[in-house]
């Protein structure tokens, strides 16, 4: 069971589907998840939407053997921090065998099921990452 309300997921849906964040036009800093205000430029900043390429690299990772409720069927799986080539980092599942994932490995985005609210509830979709060099891992 994923504890997330339908409207809460829906509000962030585009960000999760298409890696849409924001950037500050003044200083060029890019944000994911999207920020409404630039922490550097403050009120002088100018925030606009920015679509990330999705290319990045693995900063660090862990292998989940004892999963949270709703993810038991997926173990073992790799959860990592991805640094996007435009700057920001995010936490995501990496679709790769635990033995083959490496720190510094280049990754690209794929569209996958993130989870579902039981058998009756909503299915949550979004971005995960796979190794860039080959879809095999």
């Amino acid at each position: 069971m994923i504890i997330m309300s339908v409207p809460r997921f829906w509000r962030k849906q585009i960000a999760r589907y298409n890696l849409v964040g924001t950037q500050c036009k003044k200083c060029g800093e890019k944000f994911y998840p999207p920020r409404n205000m630039c922490p550097k430029c403050r009120r002088d900043g100018e925030i606009e939407e920015y679509k990330f390429s999705g290319k990045g690299e693995v900063v660090t990772y862990t292998v989940i053997h004892t999963a949270a409720e709703g993810f038991e069927g997926q173990t073992p799986y790799v959860l990592g921090i991805i640094k996007l080539e435009e700057g920001p980092s995010l936490t995501s599942q990496i679709i790769c065998d635990a033995e083959n994932v490496k720190i510094g490995m280049k990754v690209k985005p794929v569209f996958r099921k993130l989870g579902q609210d039981g058998e009756r509830g909503m299915i949550y979709y979004g971005t995960k990452f796979v190794p860039e060099s080959t879809d095999k891992c």
């Binding site: 849906q13 585009i14 589907y17 298409n18 038991e72 069927g73 997926q74 599942q93 679709i95 794929v110 569209f111 996958r112 099921k113 993130l114 299915i123 979709y125 995960k128 080959t134 879809d135 095999k136």
Partner: protein
Amino acid sequence: MSVGIVSYGAYVPKYRIKVEDIARVWGDDAEILKAGLMVNEKAVPDVDEDAATIAVEAARAAVNRSGIDAQRIGAVYTGSESHPYAVKPTSTIVAEATGATPVMTAADFEFACKAGTAAVQACMGLVNSGMIDLGMAIGADVAQGAPGDALEYTAAAGGVAYIIGNKESELVAVIEDTYSFTTDTPDFWRREGMPYPEHGGRFTGEPGYFKHVTNAAKGLLNKLDAKPEDYDYAVFHQPNGKFPSRAAKMLGFSKEQIAPGLVVTRLGNTYSGSCMMGIAATLDQAKPGDRIFATAFGSGAGGDAFSITVTDKIDEMRDNAPKVEELLADPIYVDYATYAKHKGKIKIA
């Protein structure tokens, strides 16, 4: 007015299971099955893949191949018999994830294995009537087959998206015409709430597949006053390797004409994606000017035939997205237990 394919994109999950591994579990003879079905292995989805994620990957590949602005897409229709929701469109997920929303129409199609080609026909009509600029028609499935049923040897996962338009300079292939043959034939079905389809066994053959495929194909050939030898390639719905090979022979098409599109031996039956995947594999290697004859079949039952001519534009576009051969290459083989886990056949309390 010309109408045709502006772009196409395919997606196949990277996992496969061999017929031997399924046969071992049920005590069947793998060699007899492989010879009878002409299928050696089938594509298996990952634990987090379903018809919607597969449709999105195929749709994105189609957009990337042509580089068109997704905002020009005025209709997204996804054909599948494994839509993740009973009520809630797959097509809105696809449209949002490809950047086609919000000024567009969308709906999900269902007609067993030919829902995707029915969506192509709907897009052809909308484009040629001037109602929309471009339409996207998708066939995607994580096909269901009950454990131990004959279908389990072939029911596979994969999807294909076609972007349909009518601006001649944009077309990679012109669809000269389409012809359908449809009757109420209960050869295969799945009732509401049931996890697996039922089928009429051998009844799916003559009164189902062969009657509808040959009538649709002959109807189109007659309408165009064309002959099988006028075409360089042919694709017929591929629930297994045997049916399309036999249909081709009955209609007068050669083994060579159907070879490039006959991907079922290594892919399995991707249901709504089946015939469309064969067309994509053929477009991957066709030359400008080549002609492709294709007939999809959907149980229930109907056949959709298409006459397609490849244009010069194909050479510019082809390499901008993964080809079907590349998607089929270097698979990761899984055993039956892993396959059961991936397909959600193992229930966790």
